[in-house]
Amino acid sequence: MFNRLGLAAALAIAVPAVVSARAQKPTDPQIAHIAYTAGAIDVAAGEQALNKSQNPDVRAFAEEMVRDHKAVNDQALALVKKLGVTPQDNPTSQALTRQAEAKRAELARLSGPAFDKAYVANEVAYHKTVNGALAGTLIPDASNAELKSLLQTGLKLFQEHEMHAEHLSGELK
């Protein structure tokens, strides 16, 4: 519970970094960077789970996270290449990465069912937060239509994963 709140709080700081810069709303290269970073974080978390978890349901979920987020990030890379855009690092991406590293270290100390529960609980919270950022900031602020459309697909994906994570979290109790 404390960890979930801690993550939510940290992301609540990270995401408004974009919102508060609304006078100069995030540029497409920044938005692309944030979305890519958010996906890459979830791929890394899934890989960590595949290294640590023995629970078949948790492993199947982690495999899905790795597979789906890799697919959408591959598409994102192809799109930025096509558009001639270089994703630009920014405070939101940096805060997301810092937070993910802290969570990774914390999960690394756990094992067995304790790890499974903490991983899945974090997946619920993480997908919820990224959904909020996509719907509230990143999608509305994206200028390029193709980028916007890819972010919308990303949002549908994150929403599905959130439901899946919630369902799994209920089963682990």
């Binding site: 899905e64 597979r67 789906d68 697919a71 959408v72 591959d74 598409q75 697909t153 549908k156 994906l157 929403q159 599905e160 994963h161 439901m163 899946h164 369902h167």
Partner: protein, 112 residues
């Protein structure tokens, strides 16, 4: 005996000019292939007029792996991105289809 009778009956139909009718009615019951496209994390519209014995082909045009899984257990098609899979529907009724990976993806397939 029955073969001869059948032959005789067909001749009778031809003679009566009903052979066209017979051909049409057999075409109407011949199995058909219906296609459902999966794209952007969703099933496309369910095909209308699916009958028992028809084939339903799911075409996954998405960048993600999806399944088309019947809740009643009658089929479970697992599709990598840009692949397709098909099933022959065996009984009438409404089959609730979903994706095992993304359970919010749903479709009600009505078989007549």
């Amino acid at each position: 005996m029955s073969a001869r009778r059948g032959f005789g009956f067909a001749r009778l139909l031809i003679a009566a000019g009903w052979v066209t009718v017979a051909a049409v009615s057999s075409a109407a019951t011949a199995p058909k292939v219906h296609t459902v496209v999966i794209a952007d994390m969703a099933f496309g519209p369910a095909p209308a007029d699916v009958h028992v014995g028809d084939t339903v082909r799911y075409v996954n045009k998405d960048m993600f792996r999806h399944t088309a899984t019947a809740r009643d257990g009658s089929f479970d098609l697992d599709m990598q991105p840009k692949t397709s899979a098909e099933t022959v529907v065996k009984k009438a009724g409404t089959i609730n289809v979903y994706c095992r990976f993304h359970p919010g993806m749903k479709q009600a397939l009505t078989v007549k």
